[in-house]
Symmetry: C2
Subunit: 422 residues, 2 copies
């Protein structure tokens, strides 16, 4: 079966029409999609109920069921997000630079759409509308493939969006939805659709992303795996450090910008760790600590029920749960080295009142976002003012950190002359 390839071909054929549509037409498509989704609330809830029923029967966990569930207020939020995207600055046609060459040729570099954006994600119906919105905002056609558990919900949303495309005068083929299949044949086809797909963005767990990065022949942007550290330097305000660690670890545990590892300077370990681990334990967090962490807790045997000895694997783990690894280090150099060795290049933080230590950490850590004296939880396209976000890139090419509509554009040089030859 070549469903994915056929759909990518349709998207590619529709892409030029979206690319050349004026911003008003693209914005109208987004507003109409928002309206259609609001109008289809009953149908979307019914489709979602069928997905949920199957999911429950298949034994899906509660948190995943919650992620899949749509009610009136969530559907309105999905529609509102499309209206927000319609209000965003247009990322197309920006002149990024240019000059007149010695020979009189006028050159300029302008932003243009990528063409066809493919996205593979899990059973999260809202990603369907977000991805559609950001692709239309940036003049791209898209091929979406959501998790099979969200199939009916996604198709209901896709239907509303495709009608909106037609109502705005755009080709409905600019939005394609590929059904998941147990054998992942469609995924493999999308990964191999060179010449049809300009970029593929996987969004989901580490195994989905790994499979895409390793199997893809089309360009991929790696997103989202976050083994984020908070490093407590000896010159830290220890109360502030505890507040940042608690926020980064526990405010929302299943997200990629949550902290998964704590590094503490040796000189403050005894002063900091007992109260810190006590607070973490009270919040239900298990600490995977090294021998020095254990030693620092020697006077608090009551905390050992929330403590396990860390193994080498713990330093690289993204728990996405009420667990955190903890290691005592000698100072900022060792902290930077540890972060660059075990981190995933997502979000990293130092807590310190030392100017020198903060600047050394900011400069030395190789990650999309590096914080001094703030929680890692702020890494987010909305928070950073980029509008809606299609994912957080943890790679270095093309886009790094939160990706908004601008990350779905490329550039083109235009050169105007009067017969210049070389």
């Amino acid at each position: 079966m070549s469903e994915a390839r056929d759909k990518a071909t349709l998207a590619k054929a529709a892409a030029p029409e979206v690319a050349r549509a004026p911003r008003g037409v693209r914005e109208r498509a987004l507003r109409l999609a928002a309206e259609n989704i609001r109008a289809a609330e009953t149908d979307i809830v019914a489709a979602n109920a069928r997905d949920l029923e199957r999911a429950r029967a298949a034994g899906m966990s509660e948190p995943l069921q919650d992620r899949l569930m749509l009610d009136g207020s969530r559907i309105r939020a999905i529609a509102d997000a499309l209206d927000d995207i319609a209000r965003q600055e247009d990322p197309l046609g920006l002149v990024l630079g240019g000059s007149t060459l010695e020979n009189g040729l006028r050159i300029e570099r302008v932003t243009v759409p990528l063409g066809v954006v493919a996205m593979i994600y899990e059973a999260r119906p809202n990603v369907t509308a977000d991805a559609f919105g950001l692709c239309v905002r940036s003049g791209n056609a898209c091929v979406l493939k959501g998790g099979s558990a969200a199939r009916e919900s996604c198709l209901a949303i896709v239907g509303a969006c495709r009608v909106a495309l037609v109502e705005a005068g755009l080709p409905q083929d600019a939005l394609q939805y590929v059904d998941d299949d147990a054998a992942h044949t469609q995924t493999a086809e999308l990964l191999g659709a060179t010449g049809l797909v300009d970029v593929l963005i996987p969004r989901g767990g580490a195994s989905l992303i790994r499979a895409c990065v390793e199997g893809a022949k089309v360009p991929v942007i790696e997103t989202g795996t976050g083994n984020c550290h908070v490093y407590v330097h000896e010159a830290a305000d220890l109360d502030r450090a505890r507040a940042i660690v608690m926020n980064a670890k526990t405010q929302r545990v299943g997200v990629c910008n949550a902290a998964e590892s704590l590094l503490v300077d040796r000189s403050v370990a005894a002063a900091f760790l007992p109260a810190m681990v006590s607070e973490l334990a009270a919040a239900g967090v298990v600490v995977h600590g090294d021998a020095e962490t254990r030693a620092a807790l020697a006077d608090r045997p009551d905390l050992l029920s929330s403590f396990v000895d860390a193994t080498e694997e713990d330093w690289g783990r993204e728990y996405l749960a009420l667990e955190i690894s903890c290691r005592v280090v000698s100072g900022v150099d060792e902290a930077v080295e540890h972060v660059n060795r075990y981190g995933t290049g997502h979000s990293e933080a130092i807590v310190s009142n030392s100017y020198e230590a903060c600047e050394a950490f900011l400069a030395g850590v190789d990650a999309a976002v590096v914080y001094a004296n703030a929680s890692t939880r702020f890494t987010d396209g909305g928070v950073f003012g980029l509008g809606a976000e299609i994912g957080i890139s943890t790679q270095k090419l093309h886009a790094r950190g939160p990706m908004g509509a601008a990350a779905l554009t490329t550039t083109k040089w235009l050169a105007r002359g009067e017969g210049q030859v070389r």
Copy 2:
């Protein structure tokens, strides 16, 4: 043998030191490398003579031998290019944007090195010094792998550059050279060096580039394949059109920005093609034309010795020789469609005095550089004012068109706060 992986590991370990070196230190390394290369002229010429002797014995073609050959003036040009790179603007530490968030967090996006750049190229010794220069300019370590025919020349240049690194106070391991081997084991290792190589740039013929793009697990930037078109619109100044076609096709035939295909509007085919084909034939160019091209030459049987009927494959061929395909089209829409179907996204040109036609072609063609009334031969980092060039990207992600030192950087967000939590 894991030579390539071991060398990539050494480069990765050296990369942070290059990344944090002040611009003055990196510039000094480049100037010292230029000096060392000039001082080693006799040794480099001798090494090159041994390469050339082996190449001749192996039956290498004259043009390839010419590309491999180094004499005093070419060696001085290589050194001068390093001095030029040392004078270029530093691409690191540029603040591309930022803001203060509602909560007081100050965020900024700054340019930083990619880390380790790998480059695979053919038997062109000068690429060794250029790649080294652009990598040091942009604060990256590099792993270079040139064609085996240039082995001794490349190693002589690498030796001079590694000494310069040490003299400037940088680690010599920041420059690694991997020997070619018949089984291409080293190439395969570089392609698979995830976690060690941040980007791999193949530079050479279409088969080398294809092998890298298809085999790589590390991020690759596709460069250089150029099936470039010149489209002669019905409102073209026909003399200007002939001058542009002659320049684009014949000024230098082996380069990626040379024209490989000519599109001509039906309404001017009879007026344009006889003189055009006559001029091409006089320069030794064979025209692979469609039936309408042949028909337009009906009165000139003398030209048929330079004419062959085009096949479907001709539309997609990058001849890199005195050959050109030629097709008659109905107008700008068909021309754009043809270019987008068969082109490689490199450099495309329209010749016309119609404002509307030029703007439609500039907007509609999906390529790195689109020209109105100028030769495709201008696509070049030096010409575009980017300084030395590491290649011309024909992909859309990360970099498109000529790539200078800035294309070897990524960005990092820095966020400074006072204990902000979410």
